[in-house]
Symmetry: C2
Subunit: 416 residues, 2 copies
């Protein structure tokens, strides 16, 4: 539905997200090689195939004796298998001998299996007759207590795919197969444009009627946490030409543009007009059935996603989480599971909270431990107050069709 000015009704959160996801396309970012030490948290820009087998030799997983398993078949405490101890394997050294039938070699955990051996008997299942003879009290199967060549990672195998986020263990695996660098994507640049005649740069004296720029610092931190590079473009007057100029430049020099400013209808309408005037497809939604964050605007111009966020700090945080973050994920080149990024705890609601039908409400809550249980305590206060975010540990969503949450109900807190 559209009103007299041609404006569409507010859409649901899911519909707004769907529209942005549909029109946001990952455009390959520059790729470069980083030493493994500097590659943690980066996104792989190409598939990685292992250049070697891990391990490159058959390794023992226990302290014991390398044997030919067939020599131990049928062995028991009453009728042990007798084997000659003919050699010893040392850690990090080649087992440069071949084991003959009926013989065994001492093995450390991690040692190299000699030729002729296909299993290792654990020390606990061996009795020493003398230095040169052992009794094996329990049979071993072929391959028992052994990691075979390439059992961990095979030479030529696809280890990690393009778009994979490099976690600690992924970098460790790359090191394990002899790599020293990773080819990763650059991080998407996110332009942050603060607007408002009343907004003052940090460090400037504050005159009556003026306030300091809060939102660009909040947004820059959220961008950093989510793998982007924040580019704070500065503070711009509520003037069509001035804002249009910086938005037009940002669409060409960054992968994502966030405009934050007043919550008044006039300011948001101007932002929407600029996005519409700059190119196609322009505004994808203007207004969401969401509290806080109703006047949010989302759009795409020449393949670059843009958001107009209302100026209230709590709205900025909620809208970033719901709308900007999923788009930033796509732009980062990440291929992965969305739910992997969640940081949540279950908690009981500490108070009855009511909510209007028809809009999704995101409450700020502090999480407190009381007698071994976690409780979510709503932080009340206008969404224009930064203190409500500072006091809060996370948010609780009340779905659009719910009338509220009852005290004691178990809910999920999305942690900051």
């Amino acid at each position: 539905m559209r009103d007299m000015l041609g404006r569409e009704d507010a859409v649901s959160v899911a519909e707004a997200q769907r529209r942005m996801a549909e029109k946001t396309v990952f455009r390959e970012l520059p790729r470069f090689s980083l030493p493994l030490e500097d590659s943690y948290g980066r996104v792989l820009a190409q598939d990685v195939f292992s250049p070697e087998n891990l391990p490159s030799f058959a390794r023992s997983t226990v302290d014991g004796f390398a044997v030919s398993s067939s020599d131990t078949f049928g062995a028991s405490e009453s009728i042990p298998a007798y084997l000659d101890v003919v050699n010893e394997v040392f850690m990090g050294k080649e087992a440069d001998f071949a084991l003959k039938k009926g013989s065994a070699a001492r093995m450390p955990t991690g040692g190299m299996l000699p030729a002729g051996a296909d299993a290792v008997v654990m020390l606990e299942h061996v009795q020493s007759v003398n230095d040169l003879l052992i009794e094996v009290l329990k049979p071993v199967a072929p391959g028992e207590n052994v990691i075979s060549v390439g059992e961990d990672i095979k030479k030529g195998e696809l280890m990690l795919g393009k778009g994979h986020l490099l976690r600690a263990q992924d970098v460790a695996a790359l090191a394990g197969v002899g790599l020293t660098e990773a080819t990763v994507f650059g991080k998407p640049a996110v332009s942050i444009i603060s607007t408002g005649d009343e907004i003052v740069r940090p460090g400037q004296p504050l005159l009556p009627g003026q306030v300091r720029d809060i939102n660009s610092f909040n947004l820059a931190g959220l961008v950093l946490e989510n793998g982007g590079v924040p580019v704070r473009k500065g503070i711009f007057k509520d003037d069509y030409d001035e804002i249009r100029g910086v938005v037009a430049a940002s669409v060409t020099d960054s992968q994502l543009v966030i405009i934050t400013g007043g919550s008044s209808v006039g300011t948001m309408d101007m932002t929407a007009k600029i996005i519409r005037d700059l190119g196609s497809p322009g505004v994808l939604f203007h207004g969401v059935t969401l509290k806080p964050g109703k006047p949010t605007i989302g759009g795409v111009v020449n393949g670059v996603p843009l958001f107009g966020l209302p100026g209230h700090p709590a709205a900025v945080t909620v809208c970033f989480d719901l709308f900007v973050e999923p788009v930033l994920r796509i732009l980062s080149g990440l291929e992965g599971k969305e739910y992997m990024r969640r940081r949540t705890v279950k908690a009981r609601m500490a108070k009855n909270v009511s909510s209007g039908i028809g809009k999704e409400e995101h409450l700020r809550v502090a999480v407190e431990e009381r007698t071994g249980e976690l409780w979510a305590v709503p932080i009340l206060g206008k969404s224009g107050l930064i203190r409500t975010l500072v006091r809060a540990d996370g948010t609780v969503a009340i779905p659009a069709q719910a009338r509220g949450i009852e005290e004691g109900e178990v809910i999920e807190v999305r942690l900051f």
Copy 2:
């Protein structure tokens, strides 16, 4: 209980954690000032009191008319209150006039309330008679639609305490009260010492019987993720004097020391002996009823915590999460809620998994979405394989007293 060599029985995970927490003391790290832009994710080194009121003037939260609320008492659609429009407030400008009884001034959202006004009537509750006269259709209470001076943050108020982790919104709040820098703690240095005769530096050719250093890359990433500075001290032979030398140096030049190496009893015993020989109180536990990670050692020497971790990659990850991370939190100067760091999802177990009574088992699992529900699929394989960690999204703990988890049971996955 102690065995013949004077070694104590393995202790529970909780007991091992308790002993480390008891003896680990936060020793003040160097503090320094960082520009706000660079302070995200850092730990505040001092309490911050606000240097000014936020906002510094009474602000309107809506578009409308500033009024004296008493002029609107009793107003209704049938009997509106008539007010003279005498002035207009502009964004970012001082409201340099005083409102007389019976009059009103146009207000933008965020505008400064003039003297004489104590509330704002929303545009929606006003009818314009002409440019100079309005009908107010609904009364406003004193303070309605207004954020008062200091309502967000009061001058002199404790905004953020020493030990607080600076999140996006916290940095934004500091900017909001006119600060441009934050005094933060340096990050604790964590020495990572790889041991083993078979371990080879990255980039070196691999001879038969040798393997590459995997664990120091895994540990360095985990240290980074948890706010420490990893210092990879290199690879050392399984030799008492050599390892003792680097451990002794690390105890003086870092806040935390991790020694990782073979899982053989001999290697772990040597690590324990070094910790014991270096100072007091020495080894606090050696052996935990945990799988993987049974041979783990924890100790403190001259106030510096040390860990000896078994060489299996999965054991390294599990032991870091259970033992090293809580200690690193203390050493970082963080004052906060432990559960805030959790990244978990609920999922259903995809398979029956059995577990021995008497030890806590940590399974690696992949999380998969199937028909709208999350399922945890166990990644089987020896704990010596790095691939099990690469394929996994997180871990599921089976308590020491449980016999396992049944298929379909809802469990909590601790995400990597």
